[in-house]
């Protein structure tokens, strides 16, 4: 047996079979004695004398056994275990201290665990694909259009593929709505058409069946479909024999060839994958910048290299095909950072905040622990006198600290698990990947590490008290009945330092919370520009081939609207391409009649929306000048447009826009179609409550080529007379009375849409306030603890002062003054720290500067007042000190 194992087994045997090991030692020692005595008898001693001499030579058998035991490693373990048991006993003996410490730590560690699990799920966990760090998204980038994710055209992609070495594969895909029929209520599904490279590129294999064969990504052979696990479960009840069955999509039969595993959900919310078979026209349309692309980097390539290569390719394409590609380029981003997008900053700010909470909790428990170690000086001194080394005593204190921290960590884990559902549903609705939130091994390791660090932090605080000199002094003074004082100044300085630190940290937290709250209240007060109450919104999706002309499209919309308006309980209704705050907007390039053509790169851009008559009145958007659209604005009549105030201000200054002409489109002969501006309406915050309204042009759907050509969906807005959700069924029935196969999706109230738009700032300010309050309470408990402890220790002194004629106000000043000095120092340090820390919040704040003087001043005053209260309570106890009693204490 190798010596290490040998050592291990002997040690374990000594530990767990103590009795056997003991008997063996007894046997061996007895054999030794016998042999020794026999030798002495042979040398001529009497039996009795020989035995006595042998025993004397050996000394105490127990001592020898103890020495033998000391030779093994298990001995150290045993003494550690003794310390743990002793520590547990000591903690049980003072339940008040133990409970306060554990609850404090549980709050600190629990908050950290909860936020860390979010950080882990959203930021740290790799995507569920093999070698996922090589996966990238490829987008187009335009100098003109201000959208983050513009697609790539297929000819451009083909060139990029040919000219770039950095990619192993590139696969375009396209999102598409399909109707599922033959299953009762018509249903709209999210489908993604994918090229044959798509699945191999991601490295994902199906749960059942197979992915597409290259032969299936061909015209005429593409009637195959792969299901998502969620759809398979919902529609087919997870039927294991689903492969080979057929489903009806857009009225045609498709054969199911595969089912994807649950973890595969790309692009997000896809129900089905279909083969992507571009037409020759699509393959040649270089100006058709519309396909998202996924890519896998070649081994050893970096995103920077890929981007550099693509920049060269992009410049070459812009020169070669100026009509399609001038002002366009490529943009490559890691798939994960694309997915996480801008969720990382708010999460990291929250993570920082809970980190501060944990530090405050540690300082607090450290303070308590110091006081306790102090009152245990006597016990420690006795142990030192009995031979315990300083290291052993420090170890004892550290072990108790770690025990507390582990208990706190376990309780914190429970707290975090309990808070998890709340976090998921209540908060951060818009955060990607939050569905994956769970307590996994990484989170457990984090909690363990946080507990160990916390335990070590405060467990070592009192260690310096255990110097031998101090303990000797403690023994002597305890014997003389006097108060232990030799290390007093040192320990009270440390305690005061801890309180100052706590106050400073709490100030940073509360300032952050204050800024977030002020920002949120600013944001809530922003006029959205429309009335969200009693509004029902929904989306009607159309098949691309459903309408032949804009007139048909408009007629269908009109028919639906008339039925809906006639339904009982409906006040008004209208349709539009987009609605405010729903996450969809369109942008268009335009020109103004009578003004010179803008030079390249200076094109005029405006937000664009196609609407039906009644849109402004239904949404409650005020008409500022001119008229709204009406039923006489038809395809054949004079083209008209309405602009918002931001548009009028930007392009016509103080003049009126009414009667001016703008153009967004050209007709078939490439002549501009000029719209006459007939009205001006108020601004609407359409993208997010924090983003100012962009210049916007509205056109009647009935006149718009764009509305019909670009999109196959329509938003329906219904203002109801009463509670809107009650009318959902009525409105749907009205729609279905026109076309029983019309899919209706995204049905929700406008209040809900608005709440979703506010969800992120709300959750941020809510969480920061929660952590700020937690930090504040912990810091106040800390101040209270230190001051009341100090009053307790100064009872005699205060008694003497009272006996010598000190007034109540003098005593109050003495006690409160001491606390106030600490709080003031903490506030000063905290203010400086806040100036540095809140800069990180810049991107999260709306309408409030990161150094908002009102918040900084208000929070400082709040902390001072709260600190005064925390000091006042122990001060009142000082006032009640009876000088006679106090003096008799000695």
């Amino acid at each position: 047996m190798p010596p290490l194992l040998n050592n291990l087994f002997s040690g374990l045997r000594a530990l767990f079979r103590k009795r056997a090991a003991n008997r063996e030692m007894d046997d061996e020692l007895r054999a030794y004695l016998e042999a020794s005595a026999e030798a002495k008898m042979r040398a001529g001693m009497s039996r009795e004398a020989a035995w006595r001499a042998a025993r004397v030579e050996m000394g105490s058998a127990e001592a020898v056994k103890e020495q033998i035991r000391d030779a093994g490693w298990e001995r150290a373990l045993e003494s550690l275990w003794q310390d743990v048991r002793y520590g547990t006993r000591m903690l049980r003996k003072s339940p008040g201290f133990t409970i306060v410490a554990i609850v404090t730590l549980a709050l600190g560690i629990g908050a950290n665990t909860a936020i860390f699990s979010m950080v882990e799920a959203v930021l740290l966990r790799p995507l569920p694909y093999p070698h996922s760090s090589q996966l990238v998204d490829l987008w187009a980038h335009s100098d003109v259009f201000d959208f983050p994710n513009l697609g790539v055209s297929l000819p451009d992609l083909a060139d990029a593929r040919k000219q770039c070495r950095s990619f192993e594969r590139l696969a375009p895909y396209t999102l598409k709505n399909v109707d599922l029929s033959g299953h009762g209520v018509p249903e709209q599904l999210m489908a993604t058409e994918v090229s044959p490279d798509f699945f191999p590129l991601l490295g994902i294999s199906p749960l059942d069946g197979r992915t597409f064969l290259p032969s299936e990504v061909q015209p005429g052979h593409d009637d195959v479909v792969i299901l998502s696990a969620a759809f398979w479960r919902k529609q087919f009840a997870a039927d294991p024999h689903v492969i080979g069955r057929s489903i009806q999509l857009n009225g045609a039969g498709y054969t199911i060839v595969g089912v994807m595993p649950q973890r595969f959900n790309f692009p997000t919310a896809t129900d089905l994958w279909l083969p992507f078979v571009p037409t020759p026209a699509e393959l040649a349309a270089r100006e058709n910048h519309r396909y998202p692309v996924v890519g896998r980097l070649a081994p050893g390539s970096t995103i920077a290299q890929a981007q550099a290569e693509l920049n060269t390719v992009g410049a070459r394409l812009a020169r070669a095909f100026p009509k399609a590609d001038k002002g366009w380029g490529f943009q490559v981003r890691s798939m994960k950072s694309d997915l996480v997008n801008n969720a990382s900053m708010p999460l990291l700010v929250l993570f920082g905040a809970v980190g501060l909470v944990l530090l405050i909790a540690c300082a607090n428990v450290g303070n308590l622990y110091l006081a306790r170690a102090w009152s245990r000086t006597h016990e420690l001194a006795i142990r030192a006198a009995l031979g315990a080394s300083r290291g052993r005593l420090v170890r004892q204190l550290l072990i108790e600290g770690l025990l507390l921290a582990m208990a706190g960590g376990a309780a914190g884990l429970l707290l975090a698990a309990w808070a998890m559902d709340g976090l998921r549903s209540l908060l951060l609705l818009n955060t990607p990947r939050l569905a994956n939130l769970k307590i996994d091994a990484h989170v457990l390791w984090f909690t363990l590490a946080a507990s160990l660090i916390a335990g070590t932090l405060f467990g070592l605080v009192p260690a310096f008290l255990v110097s031998r000199d101090h303990l000797v002094a403690a023994m002597r003074e305890a014997g003389s009945g006097r108060e232990v004082s030799s290390a007093g100044p040192r320990q009270s300085r440390l305690r005061q330092l801890l309180v100052v630190g706590e106050v400073a940290l709490a100030l940073v937290l509360v300032v952050s919370a204050g800024l977030a709250l002020r920002s949120f209240s600013r944001l809530s007060a922003v006029p959205l520009g429309f009335r969200p109450d009693r509004l029902l919104t929904m989306q009607l999706d159309f098949r691309g081939h459903q309408f032949k002309t804009p007139a048909q499209f408009a007629a269908y919309g009109n028919q639906v609207l008339q039925k809906v308006r006639a339904a009982p309980g409906v006040e008004s209704a209208s349709a539009s391409i987009s609605i405010p705050l729903a996450g969809f907007r369109a942008e268009g390039e335009f020109r103004i009649a009578g003004r010179p053509l803008p030079s390249n790169g200076q094109e005029l851009m405006a937000d664009w929306n196609g609407i039906t008559p009644g849109y402004f009145s239904t949404l409650g958007i005020p008409l500022l000048a001119g008229r709204a659209f009406n039923e006489s604005d038809q395809a054949e009549s004079q083209p008209v447009a309405i602009v918002n105030r931001a548009f009028a201000r930007r392009y016509f200054g103080s003049g009126s826009p009414i009667g001016r002409q703008i153009s967004l489109h050209r007709d078939k002969q490439h002549h501009f179609i000029w719209d006459e501006i007939v009205g001006e309406v108020g601004n609407v915050r359409g993208v997010s409550p924090s983003r100012k309204s962009a210049p916007t042009i509205y056109e009647p759907i009935a006149q718009s080529q764009t509305a019909w050509g670009m999109d196959t969906r329509l938003a329906l807005l219904v203002r109801t007379k009463a509670e809107p959700t009650a009318l959902a069924r009525t409105v749907k029935d009205a729609i279905w009375s026109v076309n029983k196969d019309q899919p209706v999706t995204h049905l929700k109230t406008m209040d809900r849409v608005v709440a979703t738009a506010y969800a992120e700032p709300r959750s941020q300010s809510l969480l920061l306030s929660l952590f700020g309050a937690l930090g504040l309470v912990l810091a106040l408990v800390g101040i209270y603890g230190v001051i009341s402890y100090s009053v307790g220790r100064r009872t005699r002194e205060i008694g003497i002062r009272i006996a010598l004629g000190a007034q109540n106000s003098d005593v109050l000043r003495l006690v409160v003054g001491q606390g106030t000095r600490l709080v003031l120092a903490g506030v000063a340090i905290g203010l400086a720290a806040s100036f540095a820390a809140t800069r990180l919040m810049r991107g999260l704040l709306y309408g409030v500067s990161t150094t908002d003087p009102l918040t900084f001043a208000g929070v400082s005053i709040l902390l001072l007042l709260a600190g005064l209260v925390a000091c006042y309570l122990p001060a009142r106890r000082a006032l009640r000190i009876d000088p006679v009693e106090a003096l008799r204490q000695e």
Partner: protein, 111 residues
């Protein structure tokens, strides 16, 4: 009265034990007796040092032990040198001779 046994030089006990067992397996008393005899009563090892040393050596694989009956038909734990132990003894011997020679040179130089 025999002369008082000398204290063992620090760290030499292990080597002496190994050397003793190099000749034949012995039990605890046998080892201490043998050391005493060979050193002509200069060294005496008491059980409080002997047994911890034996435990240590056995744990590190230089010795192994087994219960046997003695020449007087009693049970006793005999210690045997392992191959590793034999090697360790050889290297310790070398090291020791080197040190002795060095010390001797130093002592001569001062005279």
């Amino acid at each position: 009265m025999p002369p008082r046994p000398a204290a063992l030089v620090q760290g030499t006990l292990d080597m002496l034990i190994l050397k003793t067992l190099d000749l034949e397996p012995l039990h605890g008393y046998g080892i201490s007796l043998r050391i005493e005899q060979i050193s002509q009563r200069v060294f005496r090892v008491n059980p409080g040092s002997l047994f911890p040393a034996l435990t240590r050596l056995e744990r590190s694989g230089l010795l192994r032990s087994e219960w046997r009956s003695t020449e007087n038909h009693r049970r006793a734990r005999y210690y045997l040198l392992t191959d590793r132990g034999r090697k360790a003894l050889a290297s310790e011997k070398r090291e020791w001779s080197k040190q002795i020679a060095a010390i001797a040179r130093i002592l001569e130089a001062t005279q």
